[in-house]
């Protein structure tokens, strides 16, 4: 049992204070609220580069641009700006397993996902918490289906992802104003999809044989005001801070060459909807997530081609 006789400091992370002088408008009036500027079927632009860490056998860096808000007042804290996504991935291996490890006829894949302490507006701890472990497990399932494991018996490969900038779970104004119990971790979905794509690039960079390159994609069903009414909509690559309410979201890890899904994760519930709202099925959600995955696949292939060209001195 934990020691209850002592008075311990707060165990979790702390939020950086937001001083009112930087907040020009109160968050409640909502005029500062960011909104989605791109159409529903267009994912964010992605920057992907492989071979960024010289000491690793394979590495990649992925970045999703933070959407530029033209309307917002330019003054303010950087931490209040809308979030982007920055991930770096290193792959070490295939390397021999330690002597103590039992024999394995195929490669032992281990994945680590860690938020940097400064990755989100609320600081993260130094020890991996349950969300990070969760991401690691999902990533492992996504990659396990791609790597041809039995080409490396008795060896292991470590995939390590550091999240330098993580997607926020909601707009900071919502976070601050309400004590909403339903603060679901929507940011995690985009992070996972990015993790899959960046890990795939790094694995290719490490030269590990795969059946195909896997890429991640997210789609979500959102509810937002349209005129006076609320309406639901399906969007690719949602940015949680841009939407007032996300009903459900789906991440897939997709192999375009084989039309296979190695990992799928749906969060939230679609129904019950109000009478005038358009209804969607979970299949629609998954299909659109696949479309998003195809988008990131194109970037992935482009980045890999670029690296290959560079290596061949073309």
């Amino acid at each position: 049992m934990a020691d209850r006789r002592r008075i311990n400091g707060p165990t979790g992370g702390t939020s950086a204070p937001v001083f009112s002088k930087y907040v020009i408008k109160s968050p409640e009036d909502g005029s500062d609220r960011p909104s989605r500027t791109r159409p529903g079927n267009v994912p964010r632009k992605m920057f992907l580069k492989t071979g960024v860490t010289p000491s690793a056998s394979g590495s990649a860096y992925l970045e999703l641009e933070a959407s530029k808000q033209s309307l917002t007042s330019t003054r303010g804290l950087a931490s209040l700006s809308t979030s982007g996504l920055k991930l770096t991935c290193t792959v070490h291996g295939p390397r021999p397993l330690p002597k103590s490890a039992p024999f394995s006829p195929h490669i032992i894949l281990s994945t680590h996902v860690k938020y940097a302490p400064f990755a989100t507006r609320k600081r993260r701890g130094y020890i991996r918490d349950s969300t990070e472990r969760d991401l690691g497990v999902h990533l492992e399932t996504a990659l396990r289906g791609v790597i041809i494991g039995d080409r490396w018996p008795k060896s292991g490969v470590d995939v390590i992802i550091t999240i330098l900038e993580g997607e926020e779970d909601q707009w900071w104004g919502d976070d601050r104003g309400r004590a909403a119990a339903g603060a679901e971790e929507w940011g995690m979905m985009s992070v996972l999809s990015g993790c899959v794509t960046v890990a795939s690039a790094a694995i290719v960079d490490a030269g590990i044989d795969c059946v195909d390159v896997v890429s991640g994609g997210v789609a979500a069903i959102i509810r937002e005001p349209k005129g006076s009414l609320m309406s639901t909509m399906l969007v690719l690559d949602p940015v949680p801070s841009e939407h007032q309410e996300i009903l459900a979201a789906c991440v897939v890890a997709y192999l375009p060459g084989r039309d296979e899904i190695t990992d799928i994760w749906v969060r939230g519930e679609i129904g019950p909807l109000r009478s005038n709202e358009k209804s969607f099925s979970y299949e629609d959600l998954a299909n659109n997530a696949v479309q998003a995955a195809l988008g990131s696949h194109r970037v992935l292939v482009g980045a890999l081609k670029e690296t290959a060209d560079m290596k061949m001195h073309r």
Binding site: M46, K49, V52
Partner: protein, 822 residues
């Protein structure tokens, strides 16, 4: 003679001379023997070859002096290949001639071999091609020695070299080490190693044999040929050591990378699938052509951060050609490891040879190679083997209708009660006496405790030791953690939760009280003790159990023997306590008082025998307990089980937990969800009251053996629930609380049973009326003790909580409020 002397007497020169002579002698003998063995056919070949070589050699140079013997030797080495022999002779003898004339050529490059790296000095010209280098290496043998022997000043060499961004012309040029090549030196135009005599002979013989035999290919050969890595031609592949073939593979190397080309599937079958495209996605015609453009579209330019990190690197990454890092070589030499796969592998060769041998013997090989189908089956089998998961068997569910079973079993009423009160009020002793009188513990055990406690000089604690099992508890004479025990009367099966009275262990008391249906408040009647108790934990405990939802309370006025069973004292205490309890929210009818003595055992299981205490005619404590109404349980609600204790390391059951089922039911084989870890697990086995059982229902204290979960996901205070109706982990909640202290937005600890988590009061929404619940004041700055308020609490971690559950808020070791989740 000793060995030492023998060594001393050795003539070193003589020994060495002997050795040299021996070796040369052997070589000559070997070669001579080789020539002697020439067959007639070979001799004829040799003669013709010599003539041809003579014709091919240019005349008028130093080459004229080449003797027949030298030509024949060359021919022998190249197996009568005239062209190669001529090249070899030219190279050898023209070089020898050159060497003779004084060499005044300026050293084209000088080498400095320092720590295995070769530096090219700046300004001394670019390097020649690799072929040149090889020649140079041989030619400049002696000049190199001269260079190196010159005194060389390192400081001067590195004088103006910066630490970073070394200009390209000053950078190290790493030259692949000159590996000894296989085969013979010099000669041939292509750099492949030559065959040995034996190999050549074998190849020739095999070729002949091949020609004689028709083109029939062995069963094994076919798959082998298709497996071979080289660019396979239409003709059946000769998997022997055919060097011609492997050479052609080497030449083709840069074109095909040596890996089997796989047939690609359509790269985007999903998009081309005939099914209707998902809504709101643009039509997918001409996707293929658009792909590249779109990739450009999707690709973002790096952000400021990324361009700082990697932006400049792209240009400088381009390395000049022919400059290598150490372990690799530029042009693919036959010795490089990638080439090892160009030809058939040694295994293939052996297999092919074996199959051939068996063919030649004319007998059908008994070991027929595996057919395609068998092979496939093998592959699948090995694949399945690789995929094997955890093989511990999962307990099978019997699919019982637990509620029906429960109805059938019709067990006695079960009730849990918590024993509370100020420290040293005699809670544990009272319960020890109760168990002793009801024969739950035998006399010998109590006798032993009595003896042991006397040794420590605490004879009055003997009965308390029945419940206080821990060594620390016994040594200090205080209960630290909840002690659980059971006894049965005719009507009901009771579980005692003996709570610690000390203020340091209130969290443990909360854990116990959260499992209780009703409470027994023990009050010390001795002079002074009651008064201090009422100020202390008597009050706090009573308030806590009330806010934990306990309705019924029995007050055992203990230690009446110390005040000689004074009725006045009892009445005084009853009056004060009932006034306080009613104020705390208990109803008059749910409060009952029993005067008793834990040490003597009066009015606990038996009526008092003290003559001074005969004035009390009411029920004894046990009768009063029995009088409690059966409690209705939430059997049909979804399962909720708070983990009270985790046991690890058992051999049969590596992971077990215990706890009380708060709602719902479970049975062996059920899947459970552990919150907040969100991990699924399965029930492997079940114990109710230390007896194996197949099912359990709300209200029972169970031990559950779990499988398929890592223990790190479970912690004391976590909730196991049914996966179909899981409890949610939340970080914020609103609660209606009764304040015991001043409340303001502050750091608090939220307790619910065993679970506790740090958090803070974020907002005080309103002060409410105690009885009606109407809002009295909105957004107060502070809440006074004794008032009811609605507060918003934010937690540090998400924890499984749901309305309506009761929570206790503590701060700095004091209970500040308790209330109900909304």
């Amino acid at each position: 003679m000793s060995r030492h002397k023998l060594v001393k007497n050795l003539d070193l020169d003589e020994e060495l001379d002997d050795y040299d002579g021996d070796e040369y002698g052997y070589d000559e003998a070997g070669e001579g023997g080789g020539l002697e063995e020439l067959s007639e056919e070979d001799q004829e070949n040799m003669r013709e070859g010599t003539i041809k070589v003579r014709e091919a050699l240019p005349t008028g140079t130093a080459l004229d002096s080449i003797t027949d013997k030298e030509i024949q030797e060359a021919l022998w080495h190249y197996y009568y290949d005239v062209g190669k022999s001529v090249t070899y002779l030219l190279n050898t003898y023209s070089k020898a001639a050159k060497k003779a004339e004084p060499k005044k050529k300026k050293g084209r490059s000088s080498y400095l071999i320092a720590s295995g790296v070769m530096f090219s000095q700046a300004g001394e010209g670019a390097l020649g091609s690799l072929a040149d280098l090889e020649d140079l290496a041989r030619e400049d043998d002696d000049s190199m020695v001269q260079h190196c022997s010159k005194s060389f000043n390192f400081a001067e060499f590195f004088k103006d070299t910066p630490w970073f961004n070394v200009p390209i012309e000053r950078q190290a040029v790493l030259i692949p080490p000159l590996y000894p090549r296989g085969g013979l030196l010099g000669g041939s135009s292509d750099g492949a190693p030559k065959m040995s005599k034996l190999q050549a002979l074998a190849a020739a013989r095999r070729k002949k044999a091949q020609e004689q035999k028709s083109e029939s290919i062995s069963e094994v050969d076919k798959p082998m040929a298709s497996l071979s890595l080289g660019p396979s031609t239409g003709k059946a592949h000769d998997t022997s050591l055919d060097r011609e073939h492997s050479q052609s593979a080497v030449e083709q190397k840069p074109v095909s990378r040596g890996f089997p080309l796989r047939k690609r599937k359509n790269s985007n079958p999903h998009e081309k699938a005939p099914k209707a495209p998902p809504i709101e996605v643009e039509p997918t015609q001409e996707r293929e052509e658009m792909d590249l453009d779109q990739a450009q579209n999707d690709q973002a330019s790096p952000s400021a951060f990324a361009s700082t990190m990697f932006g400049s690197a792209t240009t400088s990454h381009r390395k000049p050609e022919n400059i290598f890092t150490m372990p690799y070589t530029a042009t693919i030499v036959a010795t490089s490891p990638t080439d090892a796969f160009a030809g058939p592998s040694p295994d293939d060769v052996v297999l092919a040879a074996q199959s051939k041998a068996s063919k030649k013997g004319g007998k059908d090989s008994s070991k027929t190679p595996k057919t395609n189908g068998e092979k496939k089956a093998d592959q699948i089998a090995s694949g399945v083997e690789a995929m094997k998961l955890d093989d511990t068997p999962r307990a099978k569910s019997k699919n019982l209708d637990v509620l029906a079973e429960y109805e059938k079993a019709k067990t006695k009423n079960a009730a849990n009660f918590v024993v509370i009160g100020h420290v040293d009020a005699g809670k544990s002793t009272l319960m020890g006496r109760l168990l002793y009188d009801l024969n739950v513990v035998d006399e010998r055990t109590v006798e032993r405790y009595r003896k042991d406690s006397e040794k420590l000089g605490k004879s009055s604690f003997a009965l308390a030791w029945v419940l206080d099992q821990g060594t620390e508890e016994r040594a200090r004479g205080v209960t630290i953690d909840i002690a659980m025990n059971k006894f049965e009367t005719e009507k009901t099966a009771f579980t005692i939760l003996d709570a610690p009275g000390h203020r340091d262990f209130i969290p443990n008391m909360i854990a116990g009280a959260s499992q209780a249906d009703f409470a027994v408040l023990v009050i010390d009647a001795s002079t002074g003790s009651f008064e201090s108790g009422l100020k202390g934990q008597t009050k706090e405990h009573a308030l806590l159990v009330r806010s934990m939802g306990v309705q019924r309370i029995i007050i055992a006025v203990n230690k009446l023997d110390t005040v000689s069973w004074s009725k006045d004292r009892f009445d005084e205490i009853s009056q004060q306590v009932s006034a306080f309890l009613i104020q705390a929210g208990f109803q008059q009818k749910n409060i009952s008082f029993v005067p008793c003595s834990g040490l003597q055992g009066d009015n606990i299981a038996r009526k008092s025998t003290e003559p001074a205490g005969l004035w009390y005619t009411g029920r004894t404590l046990v009768e009063e307990l029995d009088n409690s109404e059966p409690i209705t349980r939430a059997l049909t609600k979804p399962l909720r089980l708070t983990i009270d204790n985790i046991f690890r390391g058992g051999i049969q059951n590596p992971l077990s937990i215990s706890g009380r089922i708060e709602a719902g039911s479970l049975q062996t084989g059920d899947a459970l969800l552990a919150q907040p870890a969100k991990e699924k697990c399965f029930i492997k086995g079940l114990e109710v009251d230390q007896e194996p059982a197949d099912w359990a229902v709300a209200g029972q204290n169970v031990t559950v053996h779990l499988s398929d979960i890592d223990p790190i996901h479970l912690r004391v205070g976590d909730v196991l629930c049914s996966p179909s109706a899981p409890i949610n982990s939340i970080k914020h909640f609103t609660a209606k609380v009764l304040a015991f202290e001043f409340l303001m937005p502050m750091q608090i600890d939220v307790h619910r049973g065993r679970m506790h988590v740090a958090g803070r009061i974020k907002e005080i929404v309103a002060v409410l009326d105690k009885s009606t619940g109407a809002i009295q004041k909105k957004k107060p700055k502070i809440v006074k003790p004794g008032t009811v308020a609605r507060v918003v609490v934010e937690l540090d971690h998400a924890v499984p909580l749901e309305a309506p559950s009761r929570v206790v808020l503590r701060s700095n070791g004091d209970t500040v409020a308790a209330g109900l989740l909304e």
